[in-house]
């Protein structure tokens, strides 16, 4: 399984590293026993470019409440990881957005998702213009961008696991 690359609204690239992709894919809700999962996206704003790389993700942690359909991510354990990676990387690994899973082939954000995304764009403190949101479906993942300059959410890419698998 390799990494994947999408084009952002501003024309720069956003890459999901192999490592981040592998960890998210472990939570694909492809059977009834798996509950919804999620976490935050962390990575680099590349020097001299508009490019971004999602290097790391957090996975469900203590305090999170997981159901088959619904996920509540508590603040503190994820914030701790964000702080630690930011410090260790001398300020270069940054908070970029969130991910979660859906038990459907092609993921479509729910009203709750969209409300939550907009809330995060307006209330989270972060040093950037956009946040990105990944939903891991059963057959594909999709990624949306929410920009401070343009409050509507925009689908910027979709990747079928079957295509990535053989790369």
């Amino acid at each position: 399984m390799s990494s994947i690359v999408f084009t952002k609204i501003d024309g720069g690239k956003i890459k999901i590293s192999k490592k981040a992709l592998t960890s998210m894919k472990k939570f694909i809700q492809d059977n009834d026993c798996k509950k919804e999962a999620g976490g935050v996206l962390l990575g680099r704003y590349i020097l001299n470019s508009l490019d971004i790389i999602i290097d790391e993700i957090t996975i469900p942690m203590w305090g999170d409440r997981r159901k088959w359909f619904g996920f509540f991510r508590s603040r503190r354990p994820h914030q701790k990881v964000i702080d630690r990676l930011w410090k260790e990387s001398e300020g270069t690994i940054n908070y970029l957005g969130e991910w979660h899973t859906h038990p459907e082939n092609t993921p479509i954000p729910s009203d709750i998702d969209i409300r939550s995304w907009k809330h995060k764009l307006n209330h989270d403190v972060f040093d950037g213009d956009s946040l990105w949101f990944v939903i891991i479906g059963i057959k594909s993942l999709r990624i949306w961008e929410l920009s401070r300059n343009n409050l509507s959410y925009q689908l910027i890419g979709e990747s079928y696991y079957s295509e990535v698998e053989n790369v």
């Binding site: 690359v5 690239k13 956003i14 890459k15 590293s17 919804e36 999620g38 935050v40 680099r44 704003y45 590349i46 020097l47 001299n48 470019s49 490019d51 790389i53 290097d55 359909f69 619904g70 996920f71 509540f72 991510r73 508590s74 603040r75 994820h78 914030q79 964000i82 702080d83 930011w86 990387s89 001398e90 300020g91 270069t92 690994i93 940054n94 908070y95 969130e98 979660h100 729910s110 709750i112 998702d113 939550s116 809330h119 995060k120 209330h123 989270d124 403190v125 972060f126 040093d127 950037g128």
Partner: protein
Amino acid sequence: MADVQSQMIKFHEAIKLKRFDENETLRDKREIILKRLNSGLKKLDLDPTPKYEVIDQGSYAMDTGVKPLNGDYDIDVGISFKISKDDYPDPLEPKKWVYDSLVGHTKKVEIQRPCVTVYYQISGEPAYHVDLAVYSDKDNNSDGKIYLAKGKEHSHKENKIWEESNYPSLINLMKNHFQDSEDAKQFRRIIRYLKRWKDFKFQSKGNAAPIGIGITIAAYKWFAPNKVTNPFDNTTKYNDLEALQHFVGAVLSNFQMVYSEGVWTKRLEVLLPVAPGNDIFTKMTNSQMTVFQERLQSLFDSIQKAQKEVDPKEACTLLNQQFGCDFPIPDEKDTAQKRSPAIVSSSASA
């Protein structure tokens, strides 16, 4: 996508062999040999003692040298005797003057087909060798041409020849190839990148490795500067990776089907732009040529992958596999902008 120009420049700094005037050790070695030659010639009791001119040649003179991976530095000097080739039908005679003047100077001095070689060792390992090419000066020949003394002592008579060779003028050709000094610098960087790639990928001896001068002449023919000028502040940014991609692509497209060794095969032909105008790669066998082409193609593919790669660290890892350990792989934190910390809220999803 990934901008690796700063890593390319670091790589270049690591492999660049400084020119004579900047490199004391090599300059000293060269001076010692030339002094020894001067006194040695006088002791030979030739009447009159032959006059000569020293010509800088080779990658030092062209400023395209790379540090050798095996530690065996190679210094090229031309000794142009003020003699007419017609007075010396046996080209080995002036070569022997050089040999006899220098023999005993180090453990090993040898007459090779194109030159006389003096080997230096440091604790048993080859450290330097100096190749002295012996010429008959153009001012002393009725046709005004420069001739190189070729052949070894026991060569067949037909292999002992004076070959027209305007190799010394190659230096000027290379020096004056680009008007813009920054373009000229990129030209020399591209040559050095490919020469180091060659040393790294062809570590065996012999003609299996394409020779450095072949790469230099190929660049003279097919390299084009690659840069972008910002119209607002008039600054110019060179893109060495793209320049290298175009150049390697051009070399690959110049492999042509030819009939050689009794079969049709793809070969690269690069003619020396000065006399004798021969194909520099002619000594490579068909199978060596095929390996050369395959490895160039692999280099080309890696460059393209690195260009598409978003992550500079991964792009450099790909290039490091082609160019060897001197190609730097940056730490992740050195590839990214420093931003202020984030504070996130809790969130719900469904």
